[in-house]
Symmetry: C2
Subunit: 327 residues, 2 copies
């Protein structure tokens, strides 16, 4: 099986890659070739007994998508995107990569023809939803984004469905929950604190909480995200029918519930490293975000996530901290 | 006020044009200039005391959209589209006109800058919805099209909202009901019979009904459609908030109810001109169409349509038949 990953150098891409290398197979079929692409060169994985091609370019440039799919990968993971903040700050770049790049990739698959019909897994986003929203968002709720990033992802979803209906590829779009606990350094994303208030205290560092404890949001671990991708790559496409875009399951918790889970697992001294420093800007942005989903279709189709926030914290401690907490 | 109409030679475009010429103004402001565009040259209207520019081209070609908006129209009616059947039969043409053309138009407005921010009225379609659907579709129901045409319209809606949110133009997308009674000759559209079973009998001709009497659908007259367009062109944009795409009000009736309305207005002899000739293909297509909407937002924003099918038939007799029925 030949697998192509676009966005292989990103956090989710690297986690996926590590898992594929560890498994050596996907859906029971040995991996015979990996093509890894990103705007910066992805790292070559160690330990895979199959050829790996590394590639760095702007995949939205003419000819790039054609080059990437020319090896006719059986499974394409399309994780590449300009993130929300940058797509909002740079209108042209966001549309060029997130819309034109995605469409060029889809059209490159179409141009091959000759019965070529790969599985194409597209990572979409909760940003396809925009306020006002119900407290719990169901599978039939309108996608009315309030950012250019969300608009571009919603358009990608529509194209994915139509190209799949046309038999050009067998596409599945998965709307990832906010990934928590995100490994690595604190970043400037408005959502950064959701991970920061767990990650930094567990590492012995102070974390800033800029919103009230009552803020509720939808989370899944990096480990769960990789599980979504693998399941999306191997599920029988016909089971999805015509609606090819799915909100992934997750855990809906308030910040207060996140903190209490941290206290149960790591104790008061760790929780004491969270410092409350209200930031009205972040508070306002987060107020427009979804709080909970009824991800029924995805669950019925076998997508699984953590059932509580304690499990999300434990996954972080196991996967990132070697099981150790800074007391 | 300078008005640009794209798709001015189509049925709705010509009806809109006739009304604008008759009114001589839009929203209380005299029309100072009209620019009419279509792929075939639109007819010059008689009776308008203002300069009219006629233009025929493929508006999706590079430079065309820029040329069309270079006169900085205050209101742009974007009615141009490859229709459903053709967009399904010709993948490239549908995407080129309905998606790329629309985006180029939007980007041409953006390229002008300098505070230029016209009202842009975009005609969308019920085809943005796809089965399975509830019996009555509300304003927050998912747009999950099952045709390339519906996909392209849904993408147009998303772009319209984002460009409006960005302040590039002040856009409103209106999803037109099936227009009934459509004037003119019978056509090959799967929806043609909805108009045919009224139009032909009233003109003394036989009409074929290919579906069961129990089929329910959503209708508005050409007169109502023009009313939607005028209201969309003049309503205060801020009243819509961020959700700029609206399902227009209409009348939900079964074919049986259409026929009984025709009987009330024109009598048994006219109804006797309807011949039942089941067509399983058309029946299957129509079974996937929406049956009724709760168009609450549009009604609250002052969009009005006929309240019953009798009024739709009367509008046809008044507007197309000079008040006369072929007995």
């Amino acid at each position: 099986m030949h697998i192509l990953i676009l966005g292989a150098a990103g956090m989710v891409g690297r986690k996926l890659l590590a898992r594929l290398v560890q498994d050596g197979q996907l859906g029971g079929t040995p991996i015979s070739r990996l093509t890894l692409h990103d705007v910066v060169a992805p790292e070559a994985p160690a330990g895979l007994r199959a050829p790996v091609s590394l590639s760095a370019s702007d995949f939205s440039l003419p000819g790039e998508a054609e080059r990437l799919v020319s090896g006719r990968p059986d499974v394409i993971f399309h994780l590449a995107a300009i993130v929300s903040g940058e797509a909002e700050a740079d209108f042209d770049k966001g549309y060029r990569i997130n819309l034109d790049g995605t469409r060029r990739l889809f059209d490159a698959v179409r141009a091959i023809g000759e019965g070529y019909c790969p599985r194409l897994v597209f990572t979409s986003s909760l940003a396809v939803f925009g306020a006002p929203m119900p407290e719990v968002i169901g599978d039939e709720y309108l996608t009315a984004p309030l950012t250019s990033y969300g608009t571009q992802k919603a358009i990608g979803e529509l194209l994915l469905s139509d190209y799949t209906r046309r038999g050009i590829f067998d596409g599945i779009g998965i709307r990832l929950p906010t990934i928590c606990v995100r490994p690595g350094k604190p970043n400037k994303a408005a959502s950064g604190f959701f991970s920061g208030i767990i990650r930094e205290p567990l590492a012995g560092q102070e974390a800033v909480l800029p919103v009230p404890d009552s803020v509720r949001h939808w989370h899944a671990s990096p480990r769960a995200a990789v599980g979504f991708l693998l399941h999306a790559a191997t599920i029988e496409g016909a089971r999805l029918g015509d609606r090819r875009n799915l909100t992934m399951p997750g855990v809906s918790v308030t910040v207060a519930e996140q903190i209490e889970a941290l206290r149960r697992i790591a104790g008061d001294a760790v929780v004491a490293r969270i410092r409350r420093e209200p930031d009205p800007t972040i508070e306002r942005i987060v107020a427009g975000w979804p709080r909970a989903f009824d991800a029924r279709r995805a669950r019925e189709l076998g997508f699984t996530a953590e059932l509580d926030f304690d499990s999300i914290i434990r996954a972080h401690i196991e996967d990132e901290l070697g099981g150790r907490i800074a007391a």
